[in-house]
């Protein structure tokens, strides 16, 4: 027998604190594999953010910094500028990146900072128990929108890729999903392209990954994937928004 699927050297051996079926774990693996395949793990500095993935520094098998909530792109900028040869990435949730950290996100992107942002959009704040995120769908129930998100009081979902696509700094911006195997393959390709953009010095790169939060959505992991496929992709169309190779 020949092994065709095994662990990746891009991750440590630790088991994660993620809930059963949470796609954070899948994305970790994809990032770890890409780092390994690009052969850069040994010169990578990752930045963990505050959210369910706060312990990411335990999981990625590279140097890591833990950033304050929302400030991962600023922390990554500091690292980036000091270590021109390093590969620098952040791993952030939607609360972290699009709520408290919106300013840092847009400015790192506008600066064309050569960092790669892995952006986990799970439509809520997982770690703190399922509150409204900027990405929560209209009508979606969270602990702080008990009657479902109403545009009148809680506003509209923010589409981060579309936002960043208006800037000149990003080299690669894409939205992918985790809801089935084919999408996972596409996600991995996008993550690879994002790191490639960084390695080529093309500018800022980000992959927004539609993800599940079975625990706070109150769904089993499989139902949660269906929710992503049906509900989330309707608000958040998948695709590439900026690709330096294609010049858009």
């Amino acid at each position: 027998m020949r092994q065709i699927f095994a662990g990746t050297d891009g991750l440590t051996q630790s088991t994660t604190i993620y809930c059963p079926g949470c796609t954070h774990g899948i994305t970790h693996r994809l990032v770890g594999e890409v780092l390994e395949e690009l052969g850069v793990t040994g010169r990578t500095v990752g930045v963990a953010s505050v959210g369910c993935s706060v312990l990411a520094y335990e999981y990625f098998n590279c140097d890591m910094q833990e950033a304050a909530h929302g400030r991962a792109p600023a922390v990554a900028t500091g690292i980036r500028r000091v270590l021109p040869e390093a590969v620098v990435f952040t791993y952030q949730g939607d609360g972290d990146l699009a709520s408290i950290g919106m300013g840092e996100t847009i400015h790192a992107a506008a600066r064309g900072e050569r960092i790669t942002v892995i952006f986990i959009n799970n439509a809520n704040y997982g770690m703190t128990g399922g509150q409204l995120a900027p990405t929560t769908l209209l009508g979606q129930v969270t602990t702080t929108t008990p009657g479902g998100r109403s545009a009148a009081t809680a506003g509209y979902p923010i589409r981060v890729c579309e936002l960043l696509a208006t800037l000149d700094g990003p080299a690669y911006v894409a939205r992918t999903s985790t809801h089935n195997v084919a999408e996972l393959h596409r996600t991995k390709k996008a993550i690879r392209a994002a790191f490639q953009a960084q390695l080529e010095g093309a500018g800022f790169s980000m992959v927004e990954i539609l993800s599940t939060c079975p625990t706070n959505w109150g769904m089993d992991p499989v139902r949660a994937m269906e929710f992503v496929a049906k509900e989330m992709t309707a608000t958040y169309p998948l695709g590439e928004f900026v690709n330096w190779r294609r010049g858009n």
Partner: protein, 363 residues
């Protein structure tokens, strides 16, 4: 001694940082420290360093976190409202033990306040305006020369203790020009930072972090930090003037100490034997100098550009052994030596009747 050149306090501070090997600066404009980022913007590229105008004070302090974590000597500067915004970041720097220098060129508050010199951020600087048990050494220069010397020292202390260090100036120090002798640039290689994240995998990989979900571990962390802070107490430093025969001990720091020194000289001409203790470090506080003086003088007079903040540290050091008087001006107002003299006369007149005088009106 090196040739003396005329430099503005803010620019001298910037140059001092570069001489000390600082190669990363992130800041955001705010009066009265705008010359620091402007100077860094001009100079950093020429020495192969990084200047970034961050999108905000929050971004700036967190860029410093990243850069310091990656091993660079890193600095940020701001003034009062901007420093308030950096409090979370400073707490993180302390928690993750990242050497770095944070400069506060203090202006009048609270709120938007004004842009004239003040010393009303003393509590924030010395008690940690951020959350959690942490401390940062605080250097308080009183001349442009000290803006240079203490800033350079701040970087050394930061690295020696893996801790953020504050330089607390004010609008006068930032804006004034004085002759300074610039020390030679640090030539020795920077201290090794085996903990810095520079890219590594496997067992040797490094983690910069302040999260410890297990309270047992977090308490150990806190005790480790406390031990370090105890070691730092050796950094406490004060300048004393005329304390040999003083019956009244003036206490003042920063630009104020110079005005107070003027008042002291005037008082001595009148036969009031005043002396001055000028804390050079605000944390650790030169408690011992004050405590020693407490046994010898009749009274203390603390002068600050605030409603009375450092006066608490003086009272803690004096511990009831002598009355502690306070005189403060606020909002950008700077007392004249004559005004301080007036207050000194009052204290002298009331001496003998030992009593503890409450610090400034309510603050």
């Amino acid at each position: 001694m090196a040739e003396r050149i005329l430099l503005k306090g803010n620019e001298a501070l910037g140059e001092a940082a570069i001489l000390a090997g600082c190669r990363f600066f992130a800041g955001y404009p705010i009066t009265p420290q705008n010359e620091i980022p402007a100077y860094m913007a001009r100079r950093m590229p020429r020495v192969g360093g990084v200047f970034i105008q961050a999108e905000s004070e929050l971004a700036a302090i967190n860029m410093v976190y990243g850069a310091a974590g990656a091993g660079a000597r890193a600095m940020t500067s701001s003034s009062s409202p901007g420093i308030s915004l950096k409090q979370e970041g400073i707490s993180y720097l302390a928690g993750a033990e990242l050497p770095s220098v944070v400069v506060n060129i203090v202006r009048g508050g609270p709120g938007l306040g004004g842009i004239q010199p003040a010393q009303s951020d003393y509590f924030q600087a010395t008690r940690g305006g951020g959350h959690g048990d942490y401390r940062t050494p605080v250097f308080a220069p009183n001349s442009v020369q000290e803006m240079v010397d203490l800033t350079m020292e701040a970087f050394e202390v930061a690295d020696a203790y893996r801790n953020p260090v504050l330089v607390l100036g004010d609008g006068i120090l930032g804006q004034m020009m004085e002759p300074v002798a610039l020390p030679p640039a640090r030539e020795a290689p920077l201290p090794p930072k085996p903990w810095a994240t520079t890219g590594a995998k496997g067992p040797g990989r490094r983690i910069i972090n302040s999260l410890y979900l297990d309270p047992v571990v977090l308490e150990q962390r806190n005790l480790w930090l406390a031990e370090k802070y105890a070691r730092m107490r050796g950094l406490a430093r004060a300048e004393t003037v005329g304390m040999e025969d003083a019956e009244i001990c003036l206490v003042a720091y920063g630009a104020t100490s110079r005005i107070v020194k003027g008042a002291m000289q005037m008082a001595r001409r009148e036969g009031i034997r005043a002396g001055l203790i000028r804390p050079v470090t605000l944390w650790p506080y030169p408690t011992v100098s004050i405590r020693e003086a407490a046994g010898r003088v009749e009274a203390f007079l603390v002068v600050e550009l605030s409603l009375g903040q450092m006066v608490e540290d003086v009272r803690l050091a004096v511990d009831g052994k002598a009355p502690v008087h306070f005189y403060g001006r606020t909002g950008g107002m700077v007392p004249s030596p004559r005004e301080v003299l007036e207050k000194l006369r009052e204290v002298a007149a009331g001496m003998g009747k030992r009593r503890v005088v409450a610090a400034g009106a309510g603050a």
